[in-house]
Every structure is written in structure tokens, then in C-alpha cells.
Symmetry: C2
Subunit: 250 residues, 2 copies
DNA sequence: TCAAAAGTGTTTGGTTTACACCCATGA
DNA sequence: TCATGGGTGTAAACCAAACACTTTTGA
């Protein structure tokens, strides 16, 4: 170990970590926030550890605030990853690590049980920030993501699966879209998450039946075609729907 | 500490525990397996810790095998409980503990983040066994359960909530009923879990539409009325339905 | 002026709900 | 023999899927 680390691992609980799959929506694509590790240049999910006096939820909120500069993020715990082998890196990377470039390796050499969260954020409001172990923090489209560090690709896929489930019984969108949006934009979001196309007219009818939307007087101008109405969420009903669940799936 | 403990806490990961809500069905009632703690005589959920080389799932399976003598138990991880205050016992109990009767207190004085599982078992096949910290292991009906140790009542309630959710998209019953059962028995199970009555005829239609039941030639005799058919599960289709999910809720 | 997107409405078919009727059984 | 539980069927209500027509817009 030829470097001194400034990472204060003394403050954290051993063996426990959390990983966040942060979803954003931009250019009609679902994006995920990733970090590039300083030493190995591999990509990873944002994650962190739990302080002595913190709940997992506070820890996740803290981590997300650090990575996106956002408060009040929609967060959902979806699965714990506890395979004893999950922290094993592949041999080539392990060689690099063994070369001693990373002063924090003693902390990372322990076994971690990681709690998976997914988060939904407004792409346009997030300001991606790398953490202590990374030199880049960027949004990536799902199809750009081929390999991730450790079991993070598996974590990402499970998060996506859970997000699709959520569509079936909870409203989504408030966290992923700007305050004002059009019905086609909302539909695109659903289609992107589900990975399939939906009927425009049936989508609108179903969506409106939830009573979580308010149609504004304005329309979105500038598009090449008929100007669509703008909507915003009825937050009171939206929260209720989050609590009580919706009916019918997609 | 005036006693030596035989509990081998060296083998376990610090800070991490698991708690299991074990559901059984008997006398048309939903039952939960509970332990009575040796020292405080409080009731608790069966739980345990994770060995160095174990996944959470293996640990939960091991614990359940110890408590019920059963293998192949349906197990589902439903939530992690990580409130930093969750391990705080109430003052009266704390006094008892402080009196020093319990030699394992040093292990229990640490903060635990507990992973909640619920399990579904065949009541008639389970053989409840207390663990190292308890002197009794018994089935309790939901309405008998008023207080539990720590936050275990909260864990139980969350498990129940999740079990009800599961009814909406997965088959249930194979794990809770004997091999052969009648349609009314299956319906009672659903009604008990949901806490509401269902229409007999619509229930049967819906259930049969899932194609997970096989009607046997035999009927259940001995009842005071018309003898109902016996059914068994079509395991192949049952597994498929577990995987792919069902449609329509209750 | 026209292609493409958006607003609105209708037809159709399946699913769920709410029932009615008959049969079997032991008290 | 009769109250009760169990097997089977059907009409009505509801909901979702598929589709048609009109309007608006900038290129």
C-alpha cells in the first residue's frame, strides 16, 4: 500500500453496502447513472456504506444526494444481494488491484451483503458527481451497458424487472418527467420501461381514469405537428395512488 | 457475565441478522411460528445470523430447517429492517438483561440490520423446535399475537402485507395445504389470508382457469354434507405460474 | 397541401360479478 | 326430511382491445 486513503471507512458498518440503480428518462430513452472506477476503469452502480447511526434508507438518500445533488428522490428497496462469491472480481482485474495502486483495498477485501435500491429522478435536474473511488459519473442508455463491476449488471437487471412490476400497480412518472409534460411523452416513458408499444388512445383513457393528471390550458408548441396538451400530476391523488395501488396491468 | 455461552457467534457476520415469518394453516386459521425467549419470556420470530460462507438464502433455509425440521420450504425475502433504533428493547426488559443472566448479551448488544423473510409451510408436517435462546417454539394464531420482541410485530405485519400481495400474482397453497385438499379448503385459505369472504362459485371458476389443479376421482367423505372433490396441484403448471405470474387480483 | 401527430369516440369481445338451481349428506 | 354445504350454469355489468374519423401543425 503506497498511498494513504482519505476514505473514512471507520465510520461504516462492516459487511453491509448498498447499490443504487438510478433511472432517468431522456431523448425517449431510459438512462442509468454509472460511475467509472478510478483504478480499474470499470463501470459501476453508485453505492455506499451505512454509518453507525444511519438506516439503510438514510444511507441511500445520502448517497443519492451526493451523486445527483437532488433531494426527495423516489427510492425503492428491491432486493438484497448476498451471494458469498459476489465480491470476487475477475482475475485480470484482481491483478491490477494486487499491484497495490488502491490504498482502500483492505476495506474492499471484506465480504459485502449489498442492499439494492432503485431510484427515479428527473434527468434534467440531476447533476452527476463522481465519488471518492471514481473519476467519472455519467448517464448511460440501457443498450450501452454491457459489463459492470462485480454483480452490478445482475443488480441492474433485477431493478429493471422490479420497475416494470411497479408500473402495474403504482403510478410512475412524477419522478422521471419534468413538472409539465404531454401525454405522448408520458406514454413514451411507459413504452420505454416496458419495452413495447402501447395504443395511444387506450393509454390515454387508462391514464386519465387514475385521476392523477391535471390537464393544463397550455399546449406544447414548437413540435412539427398538432400541439399536444400539457399535463401536470395531481400530487395529492398521485400520493394516494402510490399508497393504495392502481388496478389493471399493462 | 456469570455464565459461559455455547453460542458460537464467532462464525457469524457482524451486524447482519435475518427474521422469518413462518406461516402455516390449520383449523381455518393462519398461524405463525413463534419462539419464547429463555430469559425474558417474550415471544419472537425465528431468526438467525449469516455464516462467513453463506448466502442469506442458505442461512434462512438453515434456520427454518432447524426450527421446523422441514426441507424445501417456500421462502421469500420481503424487506430489510435497518432502523438504527430497532434493536432497542424497552426499559423493563433492558433491566432484566442488565442483571446479567444472559451470557450472550455482548453479541446481542450490537446493532443488527435484519433481512425479513416469510415462509409457507405445511402445518401438519412441521415439528417446531426452539433454538438456543428460547425454551418454547409454538404456532400462534394471528389474533393471539399482541406483542413481540423488538420490532418483530412490525416485521410480521409487513410479511402479511406482502403475502396478500403475492396472492394477486402468484399461486399459493402448495406450500400451505396437504397434498390432497378440497376446493372449499383452498378457498378458506385464500379468505383467511385476505381477511374477507369470496364467492364460492367465482372462486372455483377463477382457480380452475389457472390450470394448476388436478381434480381427483375421490371425494372427501365424512363431512356432514355433500362430499366435495379432492384436488391436488399440477406441479409443473404450478411452478410455471409461480414464474410467470397470474392475472387478475382478488 | 399533405404527412404525421394529436384529440375524441365507438364497436367488440372477454372477464368478472352476482345470482339461481339442483344434488348429496348426516343429524 | 331438512338444513347445510357443495357442484354447475347463466344473465348482466364492466372493462380492455382494436379500430375510425377529425383536427392541427410545420415543412
Amino acid at each position: 500500500m503506497n498511498q494513504e486513503s482519505k476514505f473514512q471507512y471507520e465510520k461504516f458498518l462492516n459487511h453491509i453496502s448498498l447499490d443504487c440503480v438510478v433511472f432517468g428518462f431522456h431523448d425517449n430513452q431510459l438512462k442509468v447513472l454509472l460511475l467509472r472506477m478510478k483504478f480499474t476503469k470499470e463501470w459501476a452502480l453508485p453505492g455506499g456504506f451505512v454509518k453507525e447511526d444511519e438506516s439503510l434508507e438514510s444511507a441511500a438518500t445520502r448517497v443519492l444526494k451526493e451523486r445527483t445533488c437532488l433531494d426527495n428522490i423516489f427510492l425503492k428497496q428491491f432486493k438484497v444481494f448476498s451471494d458469498p462469491q459476489r465480491s470476487n472480481t475477475n482475475p485480470a482485474v484482481q491483478d491490477l488491484i494486487d499491484s497495490g495502486a488502491n490504498p482502500d483495498q483492505s476495506w474492499f477485501n471484506q465480504r459485502f451483503i449489498s442492499v439494492g435500491y432503485y431510484a427515479l429522478v428527473d434527468f434534467s435536474k440531476a447533476e452527476p458527481q463522481p465519488d471518492y473511488f471514481s473519476d467519472l459519473c455519467e448517464w448511460k442508455s440501457l443498450n450501452e451497458i454491457n459489463t459492470l463491476i462485480l454483480d452490478h449488471l445482475q443488480i441492474l437487471n433485477k431493478a429493471l424487472e422490479n420497475l416494470r412490476m411497479q408500473l402495474n400497480y403504482q403510478p410512475i412518472g412524477y419522478n422521471l418527467l419534468p413538472d409539465k409534460f404531454t401525454m405522448p411523452e408520458l406514454q413514451k416513458l411507459y413504452e420505454t420501461i416496458l419495452g413495447k408499444e402501447l395504443d395511444r388512445r387506450n393509454f390515454q383513457r387508462k391514464m386519465l381514469s387514475y385521476n392523477i393528471l391535471i390537464r393544463l390550458e397550455e399546449r406544447k408548441t414548437g413540435g412539427a405537428h398538432k400541439a399536444p396538451f400539457l399535463y401536470e400530476f395531481n400530487l395529492e391523488n398521485y400520493q394516494k395512488a402510490l399508497q393504495n395501488g392502481l388496478y389493471g396491468g399493462w
